[in-house]
Symmetry: C2
Subunit: 617 residues, 2 copies
């Protein structure tokens, strides 16, 4: 998440820290928080500098820095951003820079005061916390327990409580055991206050936001009293064991009701375990989690909800439910407060899901005044084009190559993965994650490798390896390019790029580019007409834009038109957890979307084949 | 239910049947249906003459008959009643009578046409039945299943469907398996249509109304498409095993959570079994029961709902919930449609429950223009006084004596129970239910016996047996009165009335009369100011009014001011099952009630002691 420096060559910049008057010189790629630390200026950074806490605010007075990413847009309001405020941990210098450090960002300052700042003005969660302090019944006050609670609620502007019988029994027992005092959590809904949970006075109350990707799940635990993100985590989607992509999982689910249940329960078990761990980290119980927002593609959405997916496996790919879902979290088996709620925003079509709606929400791409393309890269890539207040969306099967899958020496983005490659006359210069000895190539590495191989003439536009090139060797008659010899790798085996690897990248980038081109064609636009390209998704954050443009995955427009925003779907989920208005906004987005089904789109095949060629344009 | 003839002496009346022109002579106590049958005129009587089907309508042209009861008020509208229409099976001649038999009441007439007439104009159930006939999805119609259903609903004036995830899954699977046709049952609620059940097209859809008395449960199975009562039954409340009255059951429940669960689950099991049998009788499954209305006193209401009852066991006797309850029927464990609903109207106080609200609703006593007293006799007797649009209510512990309990030779009203007694100079003349050899005395029998013993000088006003009277014998030193000698009984043992028996009746009638007197005192009225006394409850239907007045249980006002209406609470429950307006009306009733807590009422003890004396007044 956030922006990483794009250059590789290690330029050095001078950073001036005002009003303290310190100066430090750092290499490109060092963020402003690290720079300040190097200068001996301790900024508040409760989260350890990962963009979570929003406390390391600085103001850029002079010089050029990387543009603000989604994490910062979450933590700062527009006025602050336009005044030059940034999160130091998320910002990288692009020139010499002069910074103003506000007093509250220094560790000497009162830290509590600004915690929770992250949520800005939009904090308006779907549940309300009410501290009950009731008059005990006596002979002059014969009101029933519920009447007693309802009149207290009415005095504070809340509608009457509505709950299940067991919840009313729980509330009554709790109140009598706690001297008629309690922290009540309700969900205001259509003229009632739906019972959610009851706690001892002062208990912390939390919510869970989730982006359920086909491959990875991103979870955010948020304090629902002040909006602060308590912790976050990413775990693998356990459904991978039953199919790498959603199409194969749908096929698996269709074999029996047990299979469908298995996919559902494995997913929920994994979430439950991750949540248990997160709650342990911050010292709360899962019963204190009273609200959940989940987004995912339509198949993940249905599998999570236990809805049939058979009809998603064949044309016309109709969802069972496209409407926003408000359910009890226990309906899907989530181990949270028994009365906790679950919200899933609406999806657009069988293959453009609530996760894309969430990404549109987080990036505001749907409401952009500028002509904007949002590309949310995953195993399935969803693309939207906003032009003159119209939104065109499609989904394209980019496959898991960018996750490192289906690549001979591919791996996920972990320590030892080659994430960047330069091929010059001096040879191959790879860099790896955590500077470990290379053991494989991750998505951004293989993308850059293919781009560099094209520049170096090792492959041609069709992706064919040039056997005449001495750097291309033959392995049992198959051409391959040696990236790192066994002697330099962590596992003692060669790391190579094969013709098939190149082809996987061509398929993936061709699918994405074809999607972009078809949306543009629908709107009668050329790639140059687009003023902003927003690239979302974990891979989208780390990919090298120059490489992506060089091989024609993205249109050749000036780099400053691109914005890499990280897991926008997850950020959108968190926004919806914190704000009812954002939920309502998500619902409205779908009404503005003109969906284009690529599988039946006449020009798709031709466009796709054309887009597989590797050429800038 | 319905009115029984009050006299015992067998007068004979002539019945003229027009326009057929038949005449028949019958004894008093023979209803008009039996009279017609005796005359060879076959009236439609689908239910067998028990007031259920509303098909045996006749018009009284000349002569005097018993006044219409609740059963008839249910089956006929006001205009019909004022035109002289009556149900033949519920009406008894009080003089020679001339009847007009409308053609549709003759068996030759089309029977189906008038079935369901019972519900009159008020049929407006809480659930709606919608026959779905949907367009199958195709490439030009990519709407999700739910959108498809919602747009169909919108076209018919229904709000969007709201349901649990499993229900959406069920609906989707059902529609795909049934060519997109289904009978959908929803509950319109606050701008949504709550999913209730889905069936094959044409399936019958039913509802259950229940009056849960401390001793007996009355169940009514109703067709929710036309309002017809399909069948009804009465079963014993199994909680009797854990305490005869609600006070002892509350004490039992308070001992442990298991005990509370036991009382709840035994009750629901009994209801489930009774319902299974009823459904079997009419050829439907319990899954076709989609709506339930239940009434009961506050303790029964809480025990049924699994709500804590501890606080009902001690002053200030505060209910957990006094508000109307709308819940899923499965929350209490009812085996009906999984999505079926359960409604319980609001209660008034810890000891004036939803059953009394239901009785007020059914009798319209709460809205009476005349000054009216409603007495709903049970183990607990609830009493309301309506005067100048104000309703005063109280509850009084009359005990189970009128159910035959706590009486030496007491029994429930079953075959062989003495239900009427005359004591003259010729001796004791008992009559028994079903004319069987006497085996005990039921409530109405012991009431009448005590009244006759008072008239005959066998007991005095204090209830003391007159040992000087030769009809009073001594049994181990205790005075008793021989009602039936062993030689004439069914079991070969004497049936007697003891001093203790008389005292039980005094306690019961004293509690009821004290309640009436205190309400009258609150309103500044005398018994003579009351224009109508409505006596409800099973026992209230069969008691001999003259006897009750003679011993001072009821005020001495002309007999025609009394109306015996049977199980009004049950009828009210059925009305609420059939009509949303009646549910809303029940809610409004409580707002008009001024509740008087007798246990802390200063004058109660004195009034109660005074009311135990047996004297007319």
């Amino acid at each position: 998440m956030g922006n990483h420096p794009q250059g590789i060559g290690k330029k050095r910049f001078k950073i001036d820290l005002e009003p303290i008057g310190r100066r430090v010189e750092v290499e490109a790629g060092v963020n402003l928080l690290e720079a300040a630390q190097k200068a001996g200026v301790d900024l508040v950074a409760s989260c350890g500098g990962i963009g979570l806490c929003g406390t390391c605010r600085v103001r850029v007075i002079q010089g050029e820095v990387t543009p603000p990413g989604l994490t910062e847009e979450e933590a700062l309001d527009l006025q602050q951003i336009s005044s030059g405020y940034r999160l130091a941990c998320q910002t990288f210098p692009l020139s010499d820079v002069r910074l103003d450090i506000p007093p509250e960002s220094l560790t000497a300052a009162q830290q509590l005061q600004i915690e929770g700042y992250e949520v800005a003005a939009q904090f308006d969660p779907a549940v309300s916390i009410i501290d009950l302090d009731l008059h005990e019944p006596d002979l002059d006050d014969l009101r029933s327990d519920l009447t007693r609670v309802n009149e207290y609620l009415a005095g504070r502007g809340f509608a009457p409580l509505q709950g299940e019988l067991a919840q009313m029994a729980e509330l009554s027992t709790f109140l009598r055991a706690h001297d008629w005092q309690a922290r009540l959590v309700v969900r205001p809904w259509d003229g009632t206050s739906l019972f959610t949970a009851v706690f001892a006075p002062g208990s912390q109350v939390a919510g869970l936001a989730m982006d359920m990707g086909s491959t990875k799940l991103a979870l955010y635990l948020v304090d629902l009293e002040n909006g602060a993100t308590l912790t976050r985590t990413g775990v693998m989607n356990p459904q991978i064991a039953y199919g790498e992509d959603v199409v194969s999982r749908i096929a698996f689910a269709n074999k029996s009701a047990e299979n469908l249940n298995l996919l559902q329960s494995r997913l929920v078990e994994t979430i439950n375990l991750a949540l248990l761990e997160m709650c342990g980290q911050v010292g709360i119980t899962v019963a204190q989690v009273v609200d959940v927002v989940a987004v995912g593609n339509t198949a993940m959405h249905h599998l999570f909800c236990g809805l049939p997916v058979q009809q998603l496996g064949a044309a016309p790919y109709v969802p069972v439910v496209s409407e926003p879902i408000n359910a009890r979290a226990r309906e899907v088996g989530l181990r949270v407060a028994d009365g906790a709620w679950l919200f899933l925003p609406n999806n657009i079509a069988g293959y453009v899901g609530a996760d894309h709606v969430s990404a549109l929400l987080a990036t505001h791409a749907y409401a952009a005044q500028k002509t904007t393309v949002l590309v949310d890269i995953g195993t399935n890539t969803e693309i939207s084009l906003t032009h003159q207040q119209r939104v065109y969306s499609c989904s394209t099967a980019s496959g898991p190559a960018f996750e490192g899958a289906h690549i001979r020496d591919g791996m996920r983005a972990a320590a030892g993965a080659i994430d960047k490659v330069r091929i010059t006359s001096q040879g191959v210069q790879p860099t790896t994650i955590a500077d470990a000895a290379p053991v494989g190539i991750c998505g951004s590495g293989i993308l850059m490798a293919v781009s560099e191989m094209l520049s170096a003439g090792i492959i041609d536009e069709r992706g064919v390896l040039n056997r005449a090139d001495q750097r291309v060797r033959s392995n049992n008659g198959r051409a391959e390019f040696l990236l790192v010899p066994a002697s330099s790798t962590g596992h003692g085996r060669d790391i190579v790029v094969t013709r098939k690897d190149v082809n996987e990248i061509q398929l993936a980038k061709g699918a994405i580019r074809a999607g972009i081109n078809i949306l543009l064609a629908e709107a009668g636009l050329s790639p140059q007409d687009v003023e902003e390209y927003i690239i979302a998704g974990a891979f989208g954050t780390y990919l090298d834009l120059n490489s992506a443009i060089h091989i024609g995955m993205f249109p050749a427009v000036p780099l400053e038109r691109y914005r890499q925003v990280g897991n926008a779907a997850g950020v959108g989920a968190k926004q919806m957890l914190l704000s009812r208005r954002q939920r309502a906004e998500a619902t409205r987005i779908v009404g503005r979307v003109h969906y284009i089904e690529l599988t039946t789109y006449p020009a798709f095949t031709g466009t796709f084949v054309e887009a597989m060629y590797m050429k800038t344009g």
